[in-house]
C-alpha cells in the first residue's frame, strides 16, 4: 500500500510587488540584463558547477533559456521576453530591461495600479501611432536598391553581441556574408507567392572568423569521400545532374511487420530478399540516368558499391533537417518507398563537387536556382561559435522582417530618448477630454508619463557601462555619450561629436542636458525634430518590427505584473 503524504498548503503571497524578496530579485535581474546591453555590454558565463558545457553570452535568448528564475512574477517576465524573441529574434534585452524599469518606476508611484495601467496603455498607443506615422523622427526607410542601410542593420546586430569576440574586419566580413546569404534566399523569379529560401549554417569550429564563407546550394558532410579522386558524376542529356532523394531507409533492414505473426519457411532469407530489392532500385536508378543519390538515412554498403560502379554518387545520413531545403532546391520529391520509384520524383542539379573546410569534407550540391545557400561559419572556440551562430540567425531573421516592412529605427539609444521627449511634449498638450476618457487627473497622467519616459531613458542609459555621462539634446531628442574622465565643469558641447545612432553631429547649440539626474524635473520642450542630415558613414539601426513589438510586450507585461495582487503557488 502506498503511503500518502500530507498535502502542503499552497503558498499564498498577497501584494507580491511590495515584498522585499520580489523587489530584490527584480532589481537583481534588471541589473544583470542592463549590464549585458549594447556593444560594450559585459559578458555572462553560465555553467552548472559540475563541469560540462559553458556558455559565455550577453544575449537574452541564451540567458533566459539557461537561467532558472524562481519567483512566479519574474517567470511571467522571462516567458514574455522569450515569446517575443521566438517571434522576432531581436530586441530581447531591450524588452526585458524596459519591462523591469517600467515595473520599478510605476511601483514607486502612489497611484492605483488600474489607473496606471489605463494611462500607460494610452501612452503606448501614442508611441505606436507616432512610430507608424510618416512624421516619425526616429525611423528611417530601408532602400533595398542599395546595400547601405541593410549593412547598417546587420552591422549593428553583430556589434551589439560582444561575446562573438569579433574585431572590426571580422564584423565587416560577416556583414557581407550575411547579406550575400540573404540575397541568395530571395527568389529571382517571383510569382504570386514569393517564398524566401533558406540559409543553412554549417559549423566549422577552431578556424578564423575570416575563413567563413557563403556557398550557393547545400553541403553534406561525408567523412568517407576521398579528396584525391576527382568526382565524376553522370549527367543526363541536358547536361543536368539527375538527383534521387530518399527519405526511407536503404539499409536493407527488415520492414517492420504489423501486429500478427509472420512465418518464414526454412531456407528463405528475407534479408537477402530486401537486398535484392534494393539492388533492383539501383538498377532502375542506373537506367533512369540518375547521377546522385542522397538518402536521409543509411544506404546498404552493397548498394553503395553497386551505385559507385555505375558512376552514381551516393551520399547517405543527410539528416532530416536537410530534406526540406534539398527538396526545395532540386525540385525532387523525397522517395518513401523502395518498391516503386516514380521517375517524376527526381530533381535536377547544376553541379556536384567536393569541398573541404578545416578537416571536414563535404559534398557540395550546386543548384540551378540558388534559393538555398550554406553559410560556412568559423570561429575559434565552441562558445564563441554558438554566440556567433545566434547572432547570424538573428541578423537573417531581422532582414526577413525588414523585407516585409522596409523600415528601421535609429539605434544607440536615440529611439528611446527621442520617444521619451516626444511623450513628454505630447503629454503636456493633451485635451481634458482625454483625461476624462481614461478616468484620471492630469497630475496622475503626468506622473505616469514621466515614469514611462524615465523607463525609456533608463534603457538608453544602460548602453553606458563606464562612468561617462549621458546627454540628450532638446532639438532632436537624441542620445549622446560623454566618455568618462572629463571634469564635470567642462562645457557639455565640447565633449560630444555625434549622437548614439550617428545621424546627428555636434552642430553647435543643441542645448544638451544630462539624462540621468534630471529626474523629477522634466523640461518643457517642443516636439523633437527629425534629423536634418547624417554625419557618420555608419548609422546604428534597429529592426523596426522587433523594437515595436518589444515596446508593446514590455508595457503589456509590466501592466500584467502590476495587476497581480495575489500569487498562489501550489507547493505539492
Amino acid at each position: 500500500m502506498s503511503r500518502l503524504e500530507a498535502k502542503k498548503p499552497p503558498l499564498f503571497i498577497s501584494e507580491p510587488l511590495t515584498k522585499d524578496a520580489v523587489s530584490q530579485s527584480l532589481s537583481l535581474l534588471s541589473g544583470l540584463l542592463k549590464s549585458c546591453y549594447g556593444p560594450a555590454g559585459r559578458l555572462k558565463q553560465l555553467h552548472n558547477g559540475v563541469g560540462g558545457y559553458v556558455c559565455t553570452t550577453s544575449q537574452s535568448s541564451a540567458i533566459f533559456s539557461r537561467l532558472s528564475v524562481s519567483h512566479p512574477i519574474l517567470r511571467v517576465l522571462t516567458a514574455s521576453v522569450q515569446n517575443h524573441v521566438s517571434r522576432f529574434s531581436d530586441c530581447g534585452l531591450f524588452t526585458a530591461i524596459l519591462c523591469c524599469s517600467l515595473i520599478e518606476n510605476f511601483k514607486s508611484l502612489s497611484i492605483a495600479s488600474c489607473t496606471v495601467i489605463k494611462i500607460s496603455k494610452h501612452l503606448l498607443s501614442l508611441c505606436m501611432d507616432y512610430l507608424k506615422s510618416e512624421v516619425c523622427g526616429c525611423r528611417v526607410s530601408v532602400d533595398f536598391c542599395s546595400l547601405e542601410t541593410l549593412r547598417c542593420l546587420v552591422h549593428s546586430i553583430l556589434t551589439s553581441k560582444p561575446a562573438c569576440m569579433l574585431n572590426k574586419p571580422e564584423v565587416d566580413h560577416l556583414t557581407t556574408l550575411i547579406l550575400k546569404a540573404f540575397m541568395f534566399t530571395v527568389p529571382c523569379h517571383v510569382e504570386t507567392n514569393a517564398v524566401l529560401g533558406k540559409c543553412i549554417i554549417v559549423p566549422v569550429k577552431g578556424r578564423r572568423v575570416l575563413d567563413s564563407t557563403v556557398l550557393p546550394g547545400v553541403l553534406i558532410e561525408t567523412p568517407e569521400i576521398q579528396l584525391a579522386k576527382p568526382l565524376t558524376v553522370k549527367r543526363s542529356c541536358s547536361n543536368m545532374i539527375k538527383i534521387a532523394l530518399f527519405c526511407v531507409s536503404m539499409s536493407g533492414d527488415l520492414f517492420n511487420p504489423e501486429e500478427g505473426t509472420m512465418t518464414v519457411h526454412h531456407g528463405i532469407s528475407l534479408e537477402m530478399s530486401e537486398l535484392n530489392q534494393l539492388l533492383n532500385v539501383g538498377k532502375q536508378l542506373v537506367s533512369d540516368e540518375v547521377g546522385l543519390v542522397v538518402c536521409q538515412k543509411v544506404i546498404h554498403p552493397s548498394l553503395k558499391q553497386y551505385l559507385k560502379e555505375n558512376h552514381i554518387v551516393a551520399v547517405d545520413r543527410a539528416g532530416l533537417s536537410l530534406m526540406e531545403p534539398l527538396s526545395q532546391m532540386t525540385g525532387s520529391k523525397p522517395i518513401g518507398s523502395i518498391h516503386s520509384v516514380s521517375p517524376s520524383s527526381y530533381g535536377s542539379l547544376k553541379d556536384v563537387c567536393i569541398e573541404s573546410f578545416a578537416s571536414k569534407h563535404f559534398v557540395h550540391l550546386i543548384p540551378n536556382d540558388t534559393v538555398v545557400c550554406s553559410l560556412i561559419l568559423c570561429n575559434r572556440n565552441e562558445t564563441a561559435w554558438d554566440e556567433l551562430k545566434r547572432a547570424c540567425e538573428t541578423a537573417e531573421h531581422v532582414l526577413q522582417l525588414t523585407i516585409k516592412e522596409p523600415l528601421a529605427l535609429l539605434g544607440g539609444g536615440c529611439t528611446e530618448t527621442h520617444l521619451a521627449s516626444y511623450i513628454r511634449h505630447k503629454s503636456c498638450s493633451l485635451s481634458t477630454s482625454t483625461f476624462k476618457d481614461i478616468d484620471c487627473s492630469q497630475t496622475q497622467y503626468q506622473l505616469v508619463a514621466d515614469g514611462f519616459c524615465r523607463s525609456l531613458e533608463s534603457v538608453a542609459c544602460s548602453l553606458n557601462h563606464d562612468d561617462g555621462e549621458i546627454l540628450t539634446d532638446v532639438v532632436y531628442g537624441h542620445c549622446w555619450f560623454v566618455p568618462s574622465g572629463f571634469p564635470s565643469v567642462s562645457n557639455l558641447s565640447d565633449l560630444v561629436s555625434k549622437c548614439g545612432c550617428g545621424i546627428n553631429g555636434n552642430s553647435g547649440n543643441l542645448n544638451w542636458r544630462l539624462l540621468q539626474g534630471q529626474f523629477g524635473s522634466p523640461i518643457i520642450q517642443g516636439c523633437p525634430k527629425e534629423p536634418s542630415g547624417k554625419v557618420a558613414d555608419f548609422l546604428t539601426l534597429d529592426c523596426f518590427a522587433a523594437k515595436c513589438s518589444g515596446l508593446q510586450v514590455a508595457l503589456e507585461t509590466a501592466n500584467l505584473i502590476l495587476d497581480l495582487s495575489y500569487v498562489i503557488e501550489d507547493q505539492n
Partner: protein, 485 residues
Amino acid sequence: LRRDFTTYCPAGGDLRAVLVPEPLRPPLTAPGVEFVVDSEGQYQASLRWSSSRTEALMKHLQRNNVKLLLSSVKQEEVIIYYAKLYGVSVVECLSSEEMALIREITGVSPYASFGDDIHREITETAVAAFCEPLLLGSQRCVHVGFTSVCTFQPHCLILCGPVDGVNELHAAALHGAFTMLQQLFKRVDQREECRAEATEKQLTIEDIFCNTNRVSERQLKTHKGETEVQIVDPDLQGSDSPACVQTNLQILSNPTSHIKEFSVATEGDGSSRDIQKLCAKCERLGDSHENCKSNSLVANQKNYSTAASAVDNAIVITACERLDVGKDLEKTTCNIVPFKHGKSCVSIAQNYSNILIEAGSVLPVGGYFEILLHYYIQHYAKQFQQSEVTVISNVVADALLSIPKALYRTTEQNSFTKFYLKAINALRKNQPLPMTEKGLESVYCKYQLVISVLHCVTELLSIDLVIGVKRPLQKIEDNDSEDDF
C-alpha cells in the same frame, strides 16, 4: 489546426478532404492473422502489392479531387511519398477532439478502407474552400476553410498575449462568456419541456448575433404559443397593469425598444426543501403598491388553483432594454415597477411557476440584482409573521449584500453605503434605480447562481461530523449489496 502539414501541395479552388482514422498502407498481417512466407519472390511480391495498392489509393483520391488527408495517426513514409506525388496534402496526428470537431462541422464520417474494391466512389468527403499553411507568431498552423453543414460557420478566434498562461486565462474567460450567452437565452417557466424547447430554439449561435428585433419577436411568439400554460401572458401584462403601461410611455423614446418582463423568483424543484423555501420567499416578495391591478391575472390564477392559502405576491420587474450587442448599451434604461396581483391560491409548491424569467433578461452590473433581491426578501420577511422564516430571510438578504459590498470596497470609502441608500430610496419611492455602470448581466445566470449557493450552504450546514481518513476513498461499487456487510 495547431500543427504543421506533413506534406503540403498548394491547391487552388474548392477541394475535398478525407478523415483518416487508421494507417492507410494495406497491412500484410493483422492481429490473429498469420502471414506465411513460402518464397522470397512471394515476399517481395506482397510488399510490391502493398506499395502499389497505396499508389492506387492515392490516384483514386486524386481522381476524386481529394487534396487533403486529415489523419489521426502517423502514416508511413510510403503514404507521404505517394501523397506528395499525387498532389495530396497530409496533416497527421490530429487529436480526437479535432477529429470530432471536423466531423461535426462537415458531417462526414472517417474514411473506411474499401478492402479489395478500391475503385468505389469516395462519398465521405468534406468540402473546403481553401487549405493553406498559416504562421501564427512563431508557430506554423494548418488553415482549412471547411464548408459547414451545421447551422454555424466554423471560425477561429486567435487570442494574442504576452505569455501562454495569460492566453489560457483569456481563453477560459471567453468560454465563460460563451456559456453565459447560451444561458442568457434560457428561461424559467412552468413546464420543463417548454423551457427545453425554447432554449433549443434560441441557443444557436446565429441567434446571438442576429438582430434584437428578431429575437424579441421570436420570444414573443414563443410566449403566445404557450398562453394556455403560462399564467403571466405578455399581452395581458401590457394591457392590464397600469404601471407597466406608464413605464412604456416614459421609455418609448426609442421605438425599437421592447418591453420585457421577468421576475426574480421561479418554480421550485420539489425535491429540495430549501429551494422551495427560497422560491416561497421569492414568491412572497411582494410589496404593497395597491395602484397596480391585474385583474385578469388574478382571474387566471383563481381558475388555476384554489386549495392552499399561501399568499402569492409576484414582483415583476419590467425592464426595457435592447439586446443589441455592443450598441446603445448606454441607452439601456431599467425601470423597476413592482406590483402586486392580489391574493391567489396555490395548491402545490411547483405551481409557483406563474412567474418566469424571460429569455434574454438582463440587469445592469454593479450589485443591482443583489440589492433588488435583498430588498424584496426583507420585505417578504416583514410581512411574514413566523419569526423563524423572518430570521432566515434576513440572513439571506444580508448575505446578498456581501456582493455589492465587495464591489464597492475597492473604490472610495463608504461608497457602498451611498450606493445602498440611493438604491433603497429609489425602490421605496418607486423610482428608476440610478444606473452608472455600462455592463449587463444575465438574470438567468444569477438565478442559477443563487440557487446553487443556497443548495451548497444547506448541504454544508447539514453536516454534523467531519471524519478524516488516512487512505484515499474508494468508490464503492453498486453491486456491494447489504449482504456483504
